[in-house]
Amino acid sequence: MHVRLARVPARRRLTRDRHVRLIRFLPLAVALAGCVAACGRTAPAAEVRVEWTLTPTPPAVGPAILVVRCVDFAGEPVRGASLKVEGHMTHPGMTPVLADFVEREAGVYHAAFEFTMSGDWILLVSGTVASGGAVRDRIEVANVRPAA
């Protein structure tokens, strides 16, 4: 079967030109989006430095305790902060674990939670200090093994 399309009328050609322009613009838009995405986003300077330890070591499925020590620029313990931890697996869609920290010593906070599955976890520590400043830290915990 031989089918030939009719000639495009002038008004359609205008629309066609617009399509051509849009299509030519597409790679530019994609490249622009890529540049913007690739640009490093600088994190705001932290008011509080966070040091952490996790038990058990090496990490395993089951109960775990995350201890964070918060100090300010002068190295003084930061007291009275309100902190929480969100534990996410690297795979989307898994139930996160959530826990609040309790201050046990000056500037030292404990959070008890549970690794529910083996694999790689990311712990997000966040909250506010008494002065109103924000605390944010990201802890990558690779290779949580099954419980012995």
Binding site: H88, P96, N143
Partner: protein, 486 residues
């Protein structure tokens, strides 16, 4: 059927109230595609500019939890609906208004081989780069998919990308053989009297013109409805519904999987048993399902560690390549080759080579593959379905700077992983049972005198694969994404 009883007319979804008129609406597909395009745009934007933590980004959550799971569910509940709403085709259609393709896809590249290679490549890249853990890479994958579909279909006529290349399409075509619905004809006599074949050639404008103008395209995948059998290569685009001037196209209910044992010549495909690429697709679909599920377990981590030690490999790629060759090449050759060697004794083609026996029975793998994919993707869907809520809330905070949809409720996820295991076991057992039924139906056709004997070795292989799938799903999940054990 009792003698004298009139054959019951099959249910036609296009004749149902509400849903029928919706599907027959001329712009139904475009509406669905626009919706999908909007979702894709949001995913890409959040993937590129949102948080880089996969469980909190729409690109990774929707793509790897919801899209994959709902794709399989839709295929088993109705048909190839995600191809119906494919946004890549919408973009391509708009672009084709500016530049119509002139060339035909080269004859030597036709068939499923390139699509199979791309399907395997996507599975490999998914494991190698841990794509589920990378929002930006996922966003670029979506953009790349749009780009590839656009580039191919602006250069080549018809639905070249869908039919020969699209990895998701090949996955969907294979799984759609288990769908309960199928596009077909209502009355064979109407087609016999038809002289225009608009369902494949397209409908021309009735106005007098120097040359006919196509006002509604026909099937771009080359499926001529009167000789179309089953769902293979059907994207459920419903172009044929719009094109047929006799309103003779139906979406009918059918027995899922029955087409796998049907060796009639089918339009656009030919005979299944004469298509090595279709057999290879069935093998990749099923063994790839096993591999994809196995890769998320603790024992896979140990296997990689042992292989890395044996090879002295410090990088993941060679270890993973070996695992892929083992799962997708060696295991099928050994298992299916052995089954073919035994079963051909009972075949009417006793003198035929092993390859012929393999091609006959390979389609029987597909129901098992569907069961395994459903068990795997269903697990992620059921355990993570509600995560869309906090992730959307979080995306709104990212976009607007305030919690317009409320503070993200990160505790919302889905069912507990342990509670999904009985369902997974059920899906695998159902898939195995379906595969056994198809193998037996093929044996009844290929070796009518010794059907049970011919089907027995295939039944053994299918049960072994089903048992392997059950073992995999019983293993503790090991959600990796950071560390290579080498």
């Amino acid at each position: 059927m009792f003698s004298g009883e009139k054959p019951r007319a099959r249910m036609d979804v296009l004749r149902l109230p509400v849903i029928g008129p919706m599907l027959r609406w001329r712009h139904a597909r475009t509406t669905l595609q626009l919706l999908a395009l909007g979702v894709a745009a949001v995913l890409v934007l959040h993937g590129l500019f949102g948080p880089d933590l996969a469980p909190t980004n729409l690109a990774t959550v929707v793509t790897w939890v919801h899209y994959r799971g709902l794709l399989v569910v839709a295929l088993l509940a109705a048909g190839n609906l995600f191809c119906t709403g494919c946004p890549f085709v919408l973009v391509r259609d708009v672009a084709r208004r500016a530049r119509a393709p002139r060339r035909l896809w080269p004859a030597w590249l036709r068939g499923k081989w390139v699509g199979i290679a791309l399907f395997a490549g996507v599975l490999f890249a998914y494991e190698l780069f841990d794509l589920w853990a990378l929002p930006r890479a996922t966003a670029w994958l979506v953009v790349g998919y749009f780009g590839a579909a656009l580039a191919i279909d602006l250069a080549f006529k018809g639905a070249t990308f869908c039919k020969h290349l699209c990895p998701i399409g090949q996955f969907s075509f294979a799984a759609s053989t288990l769908s309960p619905l199928e596009v077909g004809i209502r009355d064979r006599d109407v087609c016999a009297a038809c002289r225009t074949a608009d369902c494949i050639a397209g409908r021309r404008a009735p106005v007098p013109a120097p040359a006919p103008v196509i006002v509604q395209r026909g099937c771009e995948l080359g499926l001529f409805l009167p000789s179309k059998v089953g769902n293979l290569d059907c994207t459920f685009c419903l172009d044929c519904v719009q094109a047929c001037p006799h309103d003779n196209v139906a979406i009918t209910a059918r027995v899922p999987g029955a087409e796998l044992a049907d060796d009639r010549w089918r339009s656009g495909i030919g005979r299944l048993a004469a298509r090595p690429d279709m057999a290879a697709l069935a093998v990749l679909f099923t063994f790839g399902a096993l591999l994809n599920a196995f890769a998320m377990t603790g024992p896979a981590f140990e296997v990689q560690r042992v292989l890395a030690g044996a090879l002295g490999a410090g990088r993941e790629a060679p270890v993973l390549a070996l695992l892929f060759v083992g799962f997708l090449v060696v295991a099928p050759l050994v298992l299916l080759g052995a089954a073919a060697a035994v079963s051909r004794g009972g075949s009417t083609y006793a003198a035929a080579p092993l390859a012929r026996e393999l091609l006959q029975y390979a389609p029987a793998l597909v129901p098992l593959g569907v069961g395994i994919w459903l068990a795997h993707y269903g697990f992620h869907l059921l355990t993570g379905f509600v995560t869309i809520v906090p992730v959307t809330q979080s995306a709104v905070v990212d976009a607007l700077g305030w919690a317009a949809l409320g503070t993200p409720r990160w505790g919302w996820a889905g069912l507990q992983p342990g509670s999904v295991l009985p369902l997974q076991i059920g899906f695998v057992i159902l898939g195995t049972a379906g595969a056994l039924a198809v193998a037996h139906a093929i044996a009844e056709r290929a070796a009518p005198a010794h059907a049970r004997r011919a089907a027995a070795p295939w039944a053994v292989v299918l049960i072994v694969l089903g048992a392997a799938a059950l073992w995999i799903f019983a293993q503790p999940m090991d959600m990796r994404g950071v560390e290579f054990p080498g």
